[in-house]
Each structure stands twice: as C-alpha cells, then as structure tokens.
C-alpha cells in the first residue's frame, strides 16, 4: 500500500466517515466531508495545470478550509508551501519565487493579499479562493472579475463542481515531497526545508503512538501551518481518526480565555511551544477550570524554563507531560516524558532519547561519540525522518546533511543539528546550547544573520549586530546594536519600520541601540561577547 500522507485521510474516512475531523467551535467537518472536499480541491488543482511535484502555496491561517487545502494539494500529487498571511509581502514573494509557486489556495480574507502578490511573483497563474462555511458552500463570484494582467481567480463554486470521488495515487511515491517549510536563513534569505511523505510519516506514525491517540481524542496545537508543530494535529490526529480542534482566532492571546476554551472544547491532547504554556500557568487561572479531559501536554520548539514547568505541573497535575525535540529538518527526533509528580525540577528537562526509526548521536570536538555523562558534543540525527534537503540550495544541503561519520561501509546521510548536548545518568540527551548564531524566540528559529542582513539593507546603517537577550517567557529577545551615518539622523522607529517591512514580527528586534563604533576583538571581529556583557 502506498506510503503517502493523504492515505491517513482516506483510511480514516473509510473507517470513521461520520466522525468529526476538524472542529471550530461547535461546528465540524466530518472525515467523509474532509475527504470529498479535498478530492475536489485536488481535481481543481489538476484543472489549473498543476502536475506532480509542483509547489502550491497555501495562504491561510489554520482553519478547516486550510486542512482541506493541504490534503487537496497532496491528492493532486503536488507539494504544499504554507505562506503565513502575517508575513510581510516581500518575504512571501521571496518564498513564492524561490519555491516556484504557480497556484495559491487562499480564503476569503487572504484572496486579495494573494492576488496582490502577483505583482512581484510573475509566475503566479491562479488563486483558488475557498468559500465561506469552511468550503461547503459556494462563494459569490467576484463582481468585476480578475484584473486583465493578474492571476486567474478561481471561485469556490468551480471547485465544488468537480467530482468528489477518490483520486488515485497517480505517480506519487513516498520519497516525493509533501511540503516545504521555510525557516530563517543565516544569509538573509529564508530556506525551504523539503519534507517527503516518508519523512513526515516517520514522525506522524511515531507521534500518534507516543501520544496514544484514539478516535476519542480532541487534539489541538495553536501552531500555524508554516510551523512544523502543526504537522502533529493535522496528520497524527487524522491517522487516529481523532478530531483536530482549531483554536478560535485571538483566543490563545488571552491565557484565561484559552483555559476556558480548553475546557469547553474538551481538548484531550495539547501540543505547543512552552511560552504558550508558561502564559497559561502564570496568567491562565488554571485551577478555576475543569480540565480533566486533558490527558497529554506536549511541548517542543524551545527550552521550557523549569520554574514555569513546575508551576504548570503543580496547577495541572493530571496530564502526561512530554518534551519533544527536533529541528524542522529532522522532524521530532528525540523525546522525554517528564516523570509524574515532578513539581520541583531545578533544571530544564532532558530532550531524551531517539524516536522510532530514528537514531540520534552526539559527536565530540575530537570526532568521537559522546558515550557518558560529562562528555559534550554536537547532536547528529539519521533516519527516515530527515529532510530531503533545502529547496534549490545544494551547497547548504551538503553542509547540513553530511555523511554519517560512524558508517564506514557506505554513504549514509546524517543531519548536523548545531545543538550541543550531553548525556545524563539515565542515557537521556540534555540540551546545552547552540554552536552558531541561531536563537529561538517564541519557538521560532531566528538566524541572527538574517536579521543583521535586513538591517544592512538600510542605506544609512554601516554596521549592525544582533544579540540574543535571554528571556524566560520568549526564550530570547533580540537586541540590535547599530552604527549609522550620523548625517542620516536615523531613529529607532525608522529602524523598526525598516525591519517590519522585511521580516516577520518575531524577527523584528525588541531593543535597538546606537553606538558610534562597535567594539572589536584582537582579530578585528566584532566583539560580540563584550557587546553582550554591555547589554546586561
């Protein structure tokens, strides 16, 4: 049987047709509806000339229509590229141009944004706009039709006119790409992590088993589609025939409102970055809510500060607590279950041991293997969960997907995570820090070099250094230190405005400082250590 992500849906639709697949509030799409609507989207994409392997953009917040779009793209044999509607147009255009997106699936709210991108993305041929009521109903046809030069605007009624029966697997095989997730790149351009069906399924199958998902579960992650955490609720829930619940817009901003929603939506499995859980623990008034349905709380993406995890586990002692670890390039590759009753942790919990069909090993600076506590090394990952590489960047791919140094007999790829780890007494890996200029803020990866490159794009900025400032809630805040031409009279607001037009909001510096000159080391490099000290 074909090992493809969309088979998770067709199997669940055959087994549990009437069960809820995606819920928003009291309304839901059943597995049968999700299956049929995504068949129609798949056919509509083929009608637009999409061929196997093509990249199709999805410009949408997480929603039922977005899940229909994801499966529709896969059923067309294509590969989806999530586009964050909150990203600046210039960044979206860069991603669409880099990945060669020719068709975009949008919703009523983002259709105009998608069509406007055609100005800077000339290869964009068509925008398919999902209808209201999660795509069950046809949307009104646009009154004036598309602009003569712009992409074709395909109304939802054209999608609903397509047959709803099953599509075959066509030419797609498990090593083909399912999606490309763009992450921060150190040279100033986001890089596209290529994930195959096999790599995604390696995670999804393990994750559904690790969380023990069943048809009874109601699974939620607030992570947007371009963040790899969303692979769990979209695909692992589907494998189990569980219900994926979408957090209403703006609810996760307000901690007590989120806690109230968790109660009402009867969420049983939660997956997010630690900062959302920290907000819940510190401002969510958790003891005031009935959350006994919640049986697993899973966190990933950054280090969970021990004191906040203690508080969360004390206020909410019922669920299992799982720490999942893995860069986008490897999917989740190690995991650790926090022992029940831990409320007095003094250090962040380990990242744990390797997941199924995955091997994680650490290489010391001398090239040996980290074998016991006290030894430090960089974590490498091998296995079928690895990315295929970075889209259109073989050189970068070769640098990160290296030959497994401990396999002499044949050439096997291993991913260098750049994360430094050691072992604890129980054989769990413990995260120590990064080798390079990457930091995490709100669970998002930020290459300091990408922020610096955006700053350098300003004509009046001569030198720019971006430093991470540790922050308990966010992981890191970003501090920019700038040397600018005095004559330009550059202000902090101008710098921020400049950044906001180029970078997603989580990459915009929190603090901007001006210096006449940057301190230098003896080798004439910018003295980052001194700048960091100066900022304390």
């Amino acid at each position: 049987m074909a090992y493809l992500l969309q088979r998770l849906l067709t199997d669940s639709a055959a087994r549990a047709a009437r069960r809820p697949a995606v819920a928003v509030g009291a309304r839901f799409l059943t597995y049968a509806e999700l299956d049929q609507l995504s068949n129609q989207v798949g056919r509509a994409l083929l009608a637009q000339g999409v061929t196997p392997g093509d990249r199709v953009g999805i410009l949408s917040p997480k929603s039922a229509a977005a899940v229909v779009a994801q499966y529709g793209v896969l059923k067309a044999g294509a590969c989806y590229v999530p586009l964050d509607p909150k990203s600046p147009a210039s960044r979206l255009a860069t991603i669409m141009t880099d990945s060669g997106v020719t068709v975009v699936l949008a919703d009523q709210a983002t259709a105009g944004q998608a069509a406007a991108l055609a100005d800077s993305v000339p290869q964009l041929r068509a925008v398919i706009v999902s209808g209201p009521h999660w795509g069950r109903d046809a949307a009104p046809r646009p009154a004036d039709g598309p602009a003569p030069q712009g992409p074709a605007i395909v109304p939802w009624e054209a999608v609903l006119a397509e047959p709803a029966g099953a599509l075959g697997d066509g030419l797609t095989i498990d090593s083909d790409l399912a999606y490309i997730l763009y992450t921060s790149g150190s040279t100033g351009t986001p890089k596209g992590v290529m994930i195959s069906h096999r790599a995604s399924l390696t995670f999804v199958e393990w994750a559904a088993a690790c969380a023990g998902l069943t048809e009874e579960d109601r699974v939620c992650s607030p992570a947007p589609l371009h963040f790899d955490l969303s692979v769990f609720d979209v695909f692992a829930a589907c494998k189990a025939g569980a219900c994926m619940a979408v957090v209403p817009e703006n609810t996760s901003i307000f901690p007590a409102r989120l806690a109230q929603w968790l109660e009402r939506a009867q969420i049983s499995v939660w997956y997010s970055v630690p900062s959302v859980l920290t907000m819940l623990a510190t401002h969510g008034n958790l003891p005031g809510f009935e959350l006994s349905r919640l049986r697993a709380v899973i966190f990933a993406g950054e280090v969970f500060p021990a004191k906040h995890l203690n508080r969360l586990m004390t206020e909410l002692p019922g669920p299992r607590y799982l720490n999942w670890y893995g860069p986008t390039e490897t999917n989740v590759c190690t995991w650790y279950e926090v022992p029940p009753g831990s409320g007095e942790l003094t250090a962040p919990v380990p990242i744990g041991k390797a997941c199924a069909n995955t091997d994680a090993f650490a290489v010391t600076s001398e090239g040996g293997r980290v074998a016991k506590p006290g030894e430090e090394g960089e974590l490498y990952v091998r296995g079928s969960g690895l990315m295929r590489g970075y889209w259109g960047d073989q050189e970068k791919t070769r640098r990160m997907l290296v030959r497994n140094p401990f396999q002499a007999a044949y050439d096997e790829p291993a991913y260098r995570t750049g994360d430094l780890v050691t072992l604890d007494d129980a054989g769990n890996y413990v995260f120590l820090g990064r080798r390079d200029g990457m930091v995490k803020t709100r669970g998002y990866r930020v290459e300091l070099g990408e922020v610096e490159a955006a700053l350098y794009a300003h004509p009046a900025i001569r030198e720019a250094v971006v430093l991470p400032v540790p922050d308990e809630l966010l992981g890191s805040r970003l501090r920019a230190v700038i040397c600018a031409d005095v004559a330009a009279g550059l202000t902090r607001e101008e710098v921020l405005d400049h950044c906001r037009r180029r970078l997603p909001s989580y990459m915009v510096p929190d603090v901007v400082e001006f210096l006449e000159a940057l301190p230098r080391t003896s080798t004439d490099k910018v003295d980052r250590a001194r700048l960091a000290e100066h900022g304390k």
């Binding site: 909150k86 703006n250 996760s252 901003i253 307000f254 901690p255 007590a256 409102r257 900062s275 959302v276 907000m279 401002h283 969510g284 008034n285 005031g288 709100r442 809630l473 966010l474 607001e493 921020l496 405005d497 906001r500 909001s505 915009v508």
Partner: protein, 95 residues
Amino acid sequence: MKGVSQLEEVINDYVSRELVQDASLLPLGNATSLLETGIIDSLSLLRLVVFIQQRLGITVDDVDLVPEHFDTIDAICAYLRSREAGRAGQAVGHG
C-alpha cells in the same frame, strides 16, 4: 485618576510607540480594533500589562485579560477606570 483625554493619551502613546508594528496604522484611533490589526498578540499584551502596572500602578487580574477589555484603547481605558473606581470604593469602605 487621570482625566478622560489624559489616560487615553498615555495608553495611545505607549501602544503607538511600542506595540504598533505596521506604520501605516498610525496615527492610531482610540476605537481601532487592536486585535483585528494584530497590534495585540500574546507578547504585546503582556508588555502592555507590565506598562500599566508600572506607569499607573494598576495590577490587571488574570481573569480580566479578555478581548472585551483589550480590543481598543477606549476599552482599555474604560476597564482601567472601572478598576480605579472599585479601588476608590474599597478605600472608602475600609476608611
């Protein structure tokens, strides 16, 4: 408590200066939705709460962190005035 225009000015000034990411939203109206415009997210909400605590000496209770109180500058000020009035009432009661 600050007068009507003064409180609005303090909050508007802080939100405009520190939280608005998209310069095209400025000048910011006191009735503009901070949620629809994306000005308030989980991070900026907490920054605003810290500012209110430090600048006005009002601690926002966790249960009051709701969209109804934080969607517009007018709503924020109305909420802050209700808090202030409650505190004044309490002070009288204990006096």
